[in-house]
């Protein structure tokens, strides 16, 4: 165990953890940030996605020590009830999900995609989402939400 400084959603935290422990369990169990979710622990599904300095990473495989000193963003930090992120707004307007357990990965990946490419083609949307699983099969609603967010022109913000 060793003390480690993390910056999550704009706030500084000190945690006392095994540096090898994957970031996912530190976010969930030490900081009660629940939206990075455990799906496989193998980097195969994306439920545990967080943004690290703006890049989507799989927190279930990333030793927490490698996240120190970086800006970590979880779904909790993306928007709020009064001020949802435009990508969240689009997903809400599309009522895009079923159980929603996986949505953390889809919403954050959509944000990164639209920042890089504000008007993706269908093929680019599918390609951006290639590493994500939605077991309920909500893909049609998800793709529609990304198109809606792109049309709003605000999602890259």
């Amino acid at each position: 165990m060793s003390p480690l400084a993390l910056k999550v959603n704009g706030r500084a935290h000190m945690v006392d953890v095994d540096p090898q422990c994957p970031l996912l369990y530190v976010l969930r169990d030490n900081l009660a940030l629940n939206n990075p979710r455990f799906g496989c622990g193998l980097g195969q599904c994306g439920a545990c996605t967080v943004l690290l300095d703006g890049r989507a990473v799989r927190s279930c495989r990333l030793p927490v020590s490698l996240a120190a000193g970086k800006e970590i963003l979880t779904l909790e930090g993306l928007g709020s009830e009064g001020n949802p992120h435009p990508v969240q707004r689009a997903f809400i307007d599309e009522q895009a999900f079923q159980c929603g357990y996986c949505l953390n990965g889809w919403v954050l990946t959509a944000k990164v995609l639209l920042e890089k490419n504000p008007h993706p083609t269908d093929a680019e949307i599918r390609s951006a989402f290639a590493g994500l699983v939605c077991r309920c099969g909500s893909h049609v609603g998800i793709f529609n939400a990304v198109r809606r967010a792109a049309q709003s022109g605000k999602a890259g913000a």
């Binding site: 969930r28 622990g41 195969q44 599904c45 159980c99 949505l103 919403v107 077991r135």
Partner: protein, 768 residues
């Protein structure tokens, strides 16, 4: 958000006067439904004949609805809110729900069989209608006018035309006597209550039928939702389980020494062949489970080679058999037929492979009340099972349902919770168990494999004269869908408890599913003995519509073969033998939506290009719901690769409560069933299941999603609603398979429809 509601049922009742909730509960209801485990002497489920067992009204007019039904991701909470709001004349946003807490909600059998709206909403509707009537009668006495001069809007009763002469539900509720107001009949799914209040006529509905946003959707997307994975209780340890290396292996030894070094390690729990670890942190529990040296016996293999599975299923002596349909003289008619068609179809074991692998928290207190938080679909049944597992009266167990990932049946969330119970009992502290991906995919109970043999006879005019159907399936109820006994759970089986409540559940072609009017039909069904009786990773149970997708794949693919033999267009052929007007309407609407041009399959190919495109259709009936699905696929004749380009699904489930939410559920159902059609097959060797993750049990990804998915909802306000959770899962595989045949003339008879199988079918069908 902090939990603010910490009242036990007992306090609740004490502080409650009539329908009024004496405490102003400030939790939003959209978020935490978790009550802290407050030790009480007993925690009985409320009685269905009390009105306040179903709904309570706060002084501010907000309404709490209590139901034994739970949300599994399809929007049922929103639909139920609309139904109650309609009857009570309150706004849906005034309603919050308590779902599936066994000490606060009536046992309604939990969720299953697509019945939550069809059956589960009925007592809520009747209770709400009765509450409205009692409140209105009281208002009439208080306001001094007859009830027919009153109207209710947003929970305020006012004299018609004089909105200032009014009184609110919140003011009235405390004076309503809720005892013996309702008469209860039936139990489980069929539980209903009736009171003196009459539900409204459908023609006056203003809330039911509207596409209101789902109450859970916005908080989920905003990251404010809490799943069972997020339950944390004081003093909680983290647990992980270690399963036997091979099926049937016995524990030889466990060496704790390597795990003991891990900071935070607390204990290894061994009970028979059940092995688990508990630790202060999740990471320590994971490391300890990995580090633990466990030696198992190497038993004789219990499974056949997977490549011989279907052969063996056809040769083994069935455990039980039954005739499911008999009409006329099918055998005689078949032997006299001018043309005979016969084919065999196979469907694999499939895994629920839920998005979250299963998580639960248990706080076992044998001398007080044990509390278990679980996302399994049937909390009241779990309560019975855990009481048996612990050897305590049911009154000493409380199960609190908290949403987990979509469950699709009986996936293993039940087993996860039993693991937590076993570990908490041994550790003497609350334990949270998180299953690994392999625990779920490999060790969760499976949807049964089924093989089918069918034959049909045609006369010289191409009319069907005979139809024969035989299924041989592993039981859909080997692991009983009601997890109400100790032997139901994997962990308990590993401790040595036998599974004694399994039932023989057949893959049936019979009443309620058989839609075609053929003159001579014979159908029988067999259940096969399980390969291994106890703690088998291939034990079988309900997976989204038990055997429906398999039977519809076989039956509707075969029907297409018969239509092709008769050289008749597949839709025209089906219509010849369908009497059911609603099913005919679904089918013709699908044809029109798709732009179906009548011609027999397969198409006559005009070119030798690598890719060929075709269309296929399939229909299904389930529990009164009618579905017709058309698929368009592109097949690469050189590689067997296929892509579903388009799906059209027409769905008739009677009265529609919420069209947008229903459409979303069907859309997802289509993609999930496409996944099962194209990708999903549990792999196993002779001793273990080798599908352990998303690579070894692939499911549909974004690239597999069709370019166009079109849903047409046929609304029948005059017909009581039937289910939508499962019916549209049925026809997808056959519709795709029939489209492959239409495109290429090659017939695949095994699911999933992989490129290898398509290629093999292309080769055996000869040059196109």
């Amino acid at each position: 958000m902090a939990f603010k509601a910490t009242l036990s049922r007992r306090e609740f009742v004490k502080g409650t006067s009539g329908l009024l909730v004496a405490f102003s509960l400030t939790d939003s209801g959209v978020l935490p439904r978790l009550l802290a485990a407050t030790p009480t002497e007993t925690v009985d489920s409320p009685s269905p004949d009390r009105l306040d067992s179903w709904l309570q009204i706060n002084p501010d007019g907000s309404v709490r609805v209590f139901t034994g039904k739970v949300e599994i991701g399809m929007g049922v909470e929103t639909a139920l809110a609309q139904i109650v709001a309609e009857e009570l004349d309150v706004r849906p946003v005034q309603i919050t729900f308590v779902m599936g807490d066994t000490s606060r909600t009536v046992d309604q059998g939990g969720v299953g069989g697509s019945t939550s709206i069809m059956l589960g909403a009925q007592p809520l509707r009747n209770a709400a209608a009765t509450a409205r009537q009692l409140l209105t009668e009281l208002a009439s006495r208080r306001l001094g006018v007859s009830p027919d001069q009153l109207e209710v809007r947003d929970g305020v009763v006012a004299v018609k035309g004089q909105s200032t002469r009014s009184i609110s539900y919140g003011e009235l509720a405390g004076a309503i006597d809720t005892n013996d107001v309702l008469k209860a009949t039936g139990q489980g799914f069929a539980l209903n209550v009736k009171g003196t209040g009459q539900p409204k006529d459908v023609s006056s509905y203003s809330v039911v039928g509207k596409s209101l946003p789902r109450v859970d959707m916005s908080p989920k997307i905003l990251g404010q939702w809490q799943y069972v994975t997020d339950v944390r209780v004081p003093g909680m340890l983290h647990g992980r389980v270690v399963r036997p290396a091979d099926t049937g292996a016995q524990l030889v030894s466990v060496e704790e020494s390597s795990a003991r070094e891990i900071p935070g390690y607390v204990k290894t729990v061994v009970k028979g062949n059940f092995v688990g670890v508990v630790a202060e942190t999740e990471w320590a529990a994971m490391r300890a489970a990995r580090a633990l040296k466990v030696v198992w016996t190497q038993p004789e293999p219990v499974f056949p080679e997977q490549q011989h599975l279907y052969e063996q299923m056809r040769s083994v002596t069935p455990k039980s058999s039954k005739e499911t349909l008999s009409k006329g003289e099918a055998a005689t008619a078949l032997s006299a037929a001018a043309k005979k068609v016969a084919a065999a179809y196979d469907w694999p074991f499939q895994s629920h492979a839920t998005m979250g692998p299963g998580c639960a928290v248990a706080d076992v207190r044998l001398d007080e009340v044990t509390t278990v938080w679980s996302g399994a679909q049937k909390p009241h049944a779990l309560r019975k099972g855990f009481a048996e597992l612990l050897g305590v009266p049911e009154a000493k167990v409380r199960v609190i349902w908290v949403e987990d990932a979509g469950s699709y049946g009986r996936p293993g969330f039940e087993d996860t919770a039993a693991d937590a119970v076993l570990l908490s009992q041994a550790a003497g502290r609350p334990v949270r168990v998180q299953w690994s991906r392999a625990d779920m995919t490999a060790w969760g109970a499976k949807g049964p494999a089924v093989v089918y043999d069918m034959a049909a006879g045609l006369d010289v005019r191409g009319e069907v004269t005979a139809f024969q159907f035989t299924s041989r399936a592993f039981s859909g109820g080997d692991i009983m869908y009601l997890p109400a006994s100790a032997g139901n759970y994997l962990g308990a089986q590993l401790t040595g408890v036998r599974n004694t409540t399994g039932v023989d559940e057949f893959a049936q072609w019979g009443e309620g599913t058989m839609a075609y009017r053929f003159p001579n039909i014979h159908a029988d069904a067999h259940v096969l003995p399980a390969f291994f009786a106890t703690a088998s990773p291939l034990r079988t149970t309900h997976l989204r519509d038990p055997e429906g997708p398999a039977t519809t794949f076989a039956g509707e693919s075969f029907l297409d073969e018969v239509a092709a033999a008769a050289e008749v267009d597949p839709i025209e052929f089906r219509l010849r033998y369908l009497d059911d007007e609603r099913l005919r309407a679904a089918l013709t609407t699908a044809a029109k939506t798709y732009g179906w041009v009548s011609r027999p399959s397969p198409q006559k190919l005009g070119s030798r290009a690598d890719t060929a495109t075709g269309r296929g259709v399939a229909i299904a009936l389930r529990g009164g719901t009618r579905v017709a699905t058309i698929a368009e696929v592109e097949v690469n004749r050189r590689t067997g690769a296929l892509r579903v380009k388009r799906l059209v699904c027409v769905h008739d489930c009677g009265l529609i409560i919420n069209p947008e939410a229903l459409g979303g559920t069907i859309e997802a159902n289509l993609i999930q069933s496409l996944s099962r059609s194209l990708k999903e097959e549990v792999a196993f060797d002779r001793s273990r299941v080798t599908s352990i993750d998303w690579n070894t049990y692939p499911v549909a990804r974004s690239s597999d999603v069709p370019d166009r998915v079109e849903i047409v909802l046929l609304n029948h306000p005059e017909i009581a609603p039937t289910g939508a959770g499962e019916p549209s899962t049925r026809p997808t595989a056959a519709a795709i398979n029939n489209a492959i045949f239409d495109a290429t003339g090659a017939r695949v008879r095994q699911a999933p429809l992989t490129p290898a199988r398509v290629l093999a079918a292309l080769r055996s069908s000869g040059p196109a």
